[in-house]
């Protein structure tokens, strides 16, 4: 069973064992507006928690997407690179950014559940 957690920087993580699928939240895509470009981390890259891992560019501005946990990139979403507008249409589904093999599950303790994230963005 997967659990979804959220960061205060508006990333979501779907946790499945020691693998987390990471994207940006629907709230974040609404704030960004029309997304026209994404840059994803290379497979195999070692990411530290809070490190800039990806870039999402709307017509207005570029924004960093931070690694919510420490670990190694297992996969990047090629479909998203080809079609950045997926972020606007399906931020918390098809528009996942990358999958990361988590090095330290205790880092998840600092993240929000859905109810806490809703309160955070209210």
């Amino acid at each position: 069973m997967t659990t979804t957690l959220y960061t205060s920087d508006h990333e979501w993580l779907a946790i499945d064992g020691d693998v987390a699928t990471v994207g940006i939240t629907d709230y974040a895509q609404q704030q960004l507006g029309d997304v026209v470009f994404v840059e994803l981390p290379k497979v195999g890259r070692a990411l530290k928690k809070a490190e800039a891992a990806a870039v999402v560019e709307s017509v207005k501005a570029a924004s960093d997407v931070y690694a919510p946990v420490t670990g190694e990139v297992l996969e990047a979403n090629a479909e998203l690179v080809a079609e950045p507008a997926l972020v606007n249409s399906d931020a918390q589904g098809k528009a996942w950014f990358f999958k990361i093999k988590m090095a330290d599950r205790s880092e998840l303790g600092g993240l929000m559940d859905e109810a806490a994230y809703k309160a955070h963005t209210a």
Binding site: G33, V36, F37, V55, E57, S58, V59, K60, A62
Partner: protein, 381 residues
């Protein structure tokens, strides 16, 4: 931003309408302005290119320059002390693009100047309008009364369906040609209408008394072809049109020749012309005309998909070396579905097709000097 900052922002006469239409309001040049509406920048941009977009540009300054003699040519001659353009030659009912220059040949602001028969009508940038008025008063008060038309709103209607939309309210609109300008009745309201805009599209700018602005905007928006468009799409439209944004692509440190605005300076004001020079910075600007400027504003098309934005340094090579220039405007061009930018480079590296590199997040991305406008303009000449 902080609440007290928001409170200090000025509001245009259409502020209430923007909020009621779901406009996302942001601070811009001291005003609380809509950056986009619920449709979003991309759709608003594309709608303007195929239909008609309504823009609130009431934050811009509107100024009447009234000759004390009653003869408009006296005001025109006086204004030529401050701009390198031929103002005397602007026929009644016509307007022209101009720049206020400083003693170094830099640009204090860019503006539109219309001849209304007995006076000149000026439209200047929001952020510069107070300085512009003071500049006009300081230098032209011997000849002219500088009348700030702060009680007027300004609405731009842009796009291929702008003419049909305005024709329903102003029968004279279709007969106007690009840069025609003057008083017209629109929906029975005494307006000043010009066939111009800043999107590269055919269209109109309508100066309307503040008290009537919301009624006029609502009437235009009743037409299903007309959508409200925010500042986000205004910026991407003007960028695709290769038009300068003051404070970004032109400023006090850029001359009209460096900015590739030679077309806006008529021969009569250049060396050998009937009224050559006589404007601030003439020595520098005429030298730029005669000898060429050391650097030029150019269009840049990226080879990849990543937008290259304002401030990105430009390099001649893919590694090493010092920056040769900088991007002054850049982003994603929705009509081109590709990144577009403009910036300054040494004239020796400004030829069309020159391959350069823009540094984005530490990577050098290939860009090529390209012709502007990026999207062909559709002015009704």
């Amino acid at each position: 931003m902080l609440a007290h900052d928001k409170d200090s922002l000025k509001r245009t006469p259409l502020h209430g309408l923007h909020v009621s239409l779901g406009g996302k309001m942001v601070p811009f040049a001291g005003y609380d302005m809509p950056v986009q509406y619920p449709a979003g920048v991309l759709k608003e941009h594309l709608h303007t290119r195929v239909s008609a977009g309504l823009f609130d540009v009431s934050h811009m300054g509107q100024i009447a320059l009234r000759p004390k003699s009653g003869r408009v040519e006296d005001a025109a001659r006086a204004l030529e002390r401050l701009v390198p353009q031929d103002i005397v030659a602007i026929a009644p009912g016509r307007q022209r693009y101009a720049q206020f220059t400083n003693d170094n040949g830099g640009i204090l602001d860019d503006l539109m100047v219309a001849n209304f028969g007995d006076h000149l009508f000026l439209v200047v940038n929001a952020a510069c309008k107070d300085a512009d008025e003071a500049h006009l008063r300081a230098h032209l008060s011997d000849v002219c009364v500088v009348d700030s038309l702060a009680d007027r709103a300004l609405i731009a209607l842009q796009g291929p369906k702008a003419e049909a939309a305005l024709a329903k309210l102003c029968a004279e609109a279709p007969a106007m040609k690009f840069m025609d300008s003057g008083p017209r009745k629109v929906a029975g309201i005494d307006c000043f209408v010009s066939r111009s805009g800043y999107t590269g599209e055919d269209g109109f700018e309508i100066s309307v008394p503040a008290a009537e602005a919301e009624r006029l905007a609502k009437t235009l928006l009743e037409n299903p072809d007309v959508l409200p468009i925010g500042l986000g799409a205004r910026d991407s439209l003007r960028l695709e049109a290769g038009l300068c944004l003051y404070g970004h692509d032109i400023d006090t440190a850029t001359t009209p020749v460096e900015a590739a605005l030679e077309w806006s300076v008529q021969k009569s004001r250049r060396s050998g012309g009937a009224r050559a020079g006589g404007f601030p910075g003439a020595e520098k600007i005429l030298a730029d005309f005669d000898q060429g400027a050391a650097r030029r504003r150019v269009g840049l098309l990226a080879q990849g998909r990543a937008p290259v934005r304002e401030g990105a340094p430009l390099f001649a090579n893919d590694a090493g070396g010092e920056p040769i220039g900088q991007v002054t405007s850049g982003g994603f061009g929705p009509s081109l579905n590709a990144p577009v930018a403009m910036g300054y480079v040494p004239t020796s590296q400004s030829a069309l097709g020159t391959n350069l590199f823009a540094e984005v997040r530490g990577q050098r991305l290939a860009v090529q000097v390209a012709a502007m406008p990026f999207v062909k303009n559709t002015y009704k000449r």
